[in-house]
Amino acid sequence: MNTIGFKTLLSKETRRFLKVPGQTVAQPVITTALYFLVFGFALGGRVKELDGISYVRFIVPGLVMLSLIQNSFLNTASSMFIAKMQGTIVDLLVAPLSPGELLTAFTLAAVIRGFLVGSIVWMVAAIFTGFSIAHPLWTLLFALMVSIEFALFGLVVAIWSDKFEQLNLIPTFVITPLTFLGGVFYSAHMLPEPWATITKANPVLYMVEGLRYGILGQAHSSPWVGLILTGVLTAVSGVAVWVMLARGYKLRG
């Protein structure tokens, strides 16, 4: 076990995004704050209540989830992809860092970024909607699991991608649609059939619902469903990344 190596990589990966805070922390906070203003306040005046909760409060968990997903995914995806493109990945590949150490250090740094941005977003929102959290443990658990899952997913995509275009393919065509259709801004219940049923196949829905249960104390699906689903996805992604690193897929010739 190379403890110094692992800690060094974790510190490097964390400092990498902290070096450009405008891009990695401030920008997502501004974007989310704008969503909050536009959807929460401007539309919220018309929608009033959803599931018995004011619309402004209703969208807070969704917005936090949005920033967790985007930031943890982007951190691993951009760091790994840039290292591949610039050739600095060689520094890690020749070093005595095991696949598990590489995986954990990259993932943890991404979770830190996700949590950092996610909690700032929540605090900005909480100034308007109140700081209460119904189930702190569920909230933390969902935030953690989702960050880990998307950090791992970011690694899979970055290792697989040979071009920038491919790297952007997944966020554009998979993550963003699934997130926006996952009930960030609305309750899946409001949709007409067949959409209400189709939406149920979207895993992000259960993640958003899970966090909504944690923060607001109520949701349409059981948090256990979300937890098991996220756990399974995380395990699958974790194994995929581990196998890619252990085999040197697209990394070692």
């Binding site: 190596g5 050739g87 600095t88 520094d91 070093a95 860092l97 070692r252 010739g253």
Partner: protein, 307 residues
């Protein structure tokens, strides 16, 4: 017996369209400076990449200080340092930060003294805290060397370490490499500057088309494959055909007949007498020592002819 610094047995690397290595077996002793020479695409970088764990061999084995690079990769990597041929740099960090990280990756507690020492040895001290983006090509290459050595590897692989580095710094680097060897580091280097290999290497291997064609001390290769030559310059062109005994010695007229070049083996008096008998006056006479460059060209040309 202590393990060999590097040992490869019949290393083969096949890509879908080409065979990069066709069974290379090499043994490098601890504390050697070993130079790998060969034309572009000969397989030098592939061989280094396999030994450093960056590429997987199709077949064969590679060991570093007795650790198999596939069966026990972590132990093998701990003792290795690599200067890759392709320049890479991380624009996010300064040379000082990069060296700290690199020490840490190898499980070594980062030490400011060690980092300062390397920055100074590679003439990077005044650039230690600027973004790597601001470094010139030569500085980036030197930073690569510093990165490869900062954790005190016992076996250092330098893949064209002095490409694009100016001549004064190159000499400094050679001295630094000798100092490393004096401290017990084994150095494996590839280079396009044959004088570099001649100057530094204890042993030289010539690889071409993925095959090893010669391994020996430079002086042995020079003796076996290099020819000392004698060159006469005349006051007027020699237009007549050369006498048979000069032709038999392998002499040729050059520069429109104003000079004569002849391989020199053992007895020089016969050549001298024959040249003196030519219908022109000898105005200059010098001997040329064989160079590694000649040997290299002779060896690789032979493979070319066979292929």
């Amino acid at each position: 017996m202590p393990p060999l610094a590097v040992e490869t047995d019949a290393l083969v690397k096949k890509y879908p369209k080409v065979q990069a290595l066709g069974g290379v077996s090499l043994s490098i002793e601890p504390g050697e400076i070993f130079a790998l020479l060969g034309p572009n695409g000969a397989g030098k970088t592939t061989w280094i990449s396999i030994v450093c764990g960056l590429t997987r061999a199709t077949s064969g084995h590679a060991r570093v200080l007795g650790h198999d690079v596939v069966a026990d990769p972590m132990a093998a990597r701990r003792v290795v340092g690599l200067v890759p041929q392709e320049i890479n740099f991380d624009p996010f960090f300064t040379p000082r930060e990069v060296l700290r990280f690199q020490m840490g990756y190898f499980g070594v507690q980062p030490s400011n003294d060690r980092i300062e020492e390397l920055l100074a040895a590679l003439a990077l001290s005044d650039k230690a805290d600027v973004s790597s983006r601001e470094l010139s090509g030569g500085m980036r290459r030197r930073l690569l060397i510093a990165k490869a050595l900062v954790h005190r590897p016992r076996v250092a692989f330098l893949d064209e370490p002095t490409a694009g580095v100016d001549i004064a710094l190159r000499k400094d680097l050679w001295n630094y490499v000798r100092k490393l060897r004096a401290e017990g580091t084994t150095i494996v280097l590839t280079t396009h500057y044959l004088e570099e290999a001649e100057e530094l290497a204890d042993r030289v291997a010539v690889i071409d088309h993925g095959r090893l064609i010669a391994v020996d001390k430079p002086e042995v290769l020079l003796r076996q494959h290099g020819k000392k030559r004698i060159r006469f310059t005349f006051d007027a062109p020699v237009v007549a055909a050369l006498p048979a005994r000069l032709l038999a010695l392998g002499a040729t007229l050059e520069n429109g007949g104003t000079s004569l070049s002849c391989p020199l083996e053992g007895d020089a008096s016969e050549v001298l007498a024959a040249a003196a008998a030519l219908p022109a006056r000898v105005v200059d006479l010098r001997t040329e020592q064989p160079s590694l460059e000649q040997v290299f060209l002779a060896l690789t040309a032979r493979v070319e002819r066979r292929a």
